[in-house]
Symmetry: C2
């Protein structure tokens, strides 16, 4: 089995891994494509020093063994959080915050950079025949972008600022444009990237803090942007935090208090509406760049919108 | 007129100020008591270098001139924010965030540390005859404590942690105990102060981050406490920020994002329910310590629960 394995410090390409054995309730999935996420890069930088195993958590594949016969030989995408079903969070409608949570390719569960993976069958979502693997693989990060729409209520015409012009920002931009009646402004530093956003939003290259917005989404991945994000948020407005980074951020809390700003952390999101947006073409992201698993290191250095390992050959 | 005047750097006791003239729509109030707030101390430390004028914003007094005859010779308390009525915030239900906002004793409006003050009549709230000035003067800070109940919905039995054992914390503790069915735990560093909280809450001297709470209120006034406050907040829980301070806070934003914590700034609150709590005795705070206006500097150094200047003599 071809796989990218993390030993706690480095990754290596392996060919001698055995095919994984599904646990009770799990299905066996033959991976078609597995995309590279910034979290994978963070793990290689030391974000998850306790993790040992196969990397990767954004995938599309074909079910080869399953307790649910209707799934056999179907193309699926899969949620990444394995939960206990019993803890405080599982029993109060917050299973993705399960205390005993394991996460595909991130925490105590072999991931998707491999010819095969196993996952609890309840986490799998069949994909329409018409949706190619190259598009379906965007489901997990698009679901994370859609999480915002579960957390924030957007009144019609709400002025929204999106900070960032990377991959996550583009998914947030497209998913907000597709699902909400909002007045969207994007702030980014790379004019060549902002062109991708222009059909969906008013765009600007630089922040003018005279302008303020009811909702601001920080997807810059940069703690230095947080002061701008706070300044752009209206009093009693909402600042959605999508970026994770190792460094601490320095915040003027008095401004948050005096202006009564709401700051909301936002992470994994709903797969069903994400798949729906991909299947109806309402979200249409730039093409994926595929690499052979052997070329993992090259894929990690790729600056394209989205790089993926192709396990189909 | 006796008054405490701020010149942008220092304060001095003055006796030669003329009685203020009410502007159209304003009432003239003879101040009985004006309490000292931490904001007054922050102004003297440089928090509001542009302010010039009489300090003080927590007061109770008697209306002596008013366009509303029913208020004449009535004891009143008063809201402190003077608003334009026209701006984005005034026209969207957020007048206390008015862009042109002036604030009594803080921003472009002479304050309450004086024998007389003027305020727009619409900001005045008459006090029941039975409520003495010594209790009515708690209305403004108690309203700020009650602001939390406007911002957060508390399900019955919600576990709530309150960080801090100062004056604002005690008002938050009593107002939550009086108005919400919550399971309240107080964390503070001063055992002698925590005794004041014990009828209303389970109390602890030290933070154990194994325990978590659906709602955490930070009223410590200390940016170093914010990490504890985040650690104590459950995933998808709410952290209410009540403390303002000049220093920046250093925050692990990734923890806020991954655990999807909501952080809400919280400031001024509703006077009517605050007065109601004082008038019904449902909130009953330790006695005020009164000082003559001449003894302002001594009053500022007072370590009692609440110090006030007494202008009745």
């Amino acid at each position: 089995l071809k796989a990218i394995v993390f030993d706690g410090r480095n990754s290596h390409f392996a060919t001698d891994l055995p095919k994984p054995l599904p646990e009770p309730g799990e299905s066996l999935i033959q991976v078609e494509l597995a995309a590279i996420c910034n979290t994978d890069r963070e793990i290689l930088k030391g974000y998850r020093p306790d993790y040992r195993g196969v990397l990767g958590h954004e995938f599309v594949g074909i079910v080869r063994e399953s307790p649910d016969p209707s799934l056999l030989n179907r193309r699926v995408v899969g949620e990444i959080n394995l939960t206990c079903g019993l803890c405080l969070y599982c029993s109060s409608g917050r299973p993705h915050h399960c205390i005993e949570r394991r996460a595909l390719g991130i925490n105590d569960k072999n991931g998707a950079f491999a010819g095969y993976l196993t996952l609890p069958t309840s986490l799998l979502h069949p994909v329409d025949e018409a949706l190619p693997a190259e598009k379906a693989v965007f489901c997990e990060p698009l679901a994370a972008a859609l999480r915002i729409t579960e957390q924030v209520e957007f009144a019609p015409g709400t002025p929204v600022a999106l900070l960032g012009d990377g991959r996550l920002a583009l998914m947030i931009c497209q998913s907000l444009a597709a699902t909400q009646d909002v007045d969207l402004t994007v702030f980014g530093r790379h004019p060549e990237k902002l062109a991708l956003f222009s059909p969906y939003a008013k765009t600007f290259g630089a922040i003018d803090t005279e302008d303020t917005f009811e909702v601001v989404v920080d997807a810059t991945g940069n703690p230095a942007s947080l002061s701008d994000a706070i300044a752009l948020t209206r009093s009693e407005g909402t600042l959605v935090l999508k970026s994770t980074y190792a460094e601490k951020a320095h915040i003027d809390i008095s401004m948050v208090v005096v202006r009564e700003i709401r700051m909301i952390g936002s992470r994994c999101g709903p797969f069903k509406p994400a798949l729906e947006l991909l299947q109806t073409g309402k979200v249409d992201l730039p093409p994926l760049t595929c690499f052979a698993p052997e070329d993992f290191k090259k894929a990690m250095e790729s600056k394209t919108f989205k790089a993926a390992l192709d396990f189909r050959s």
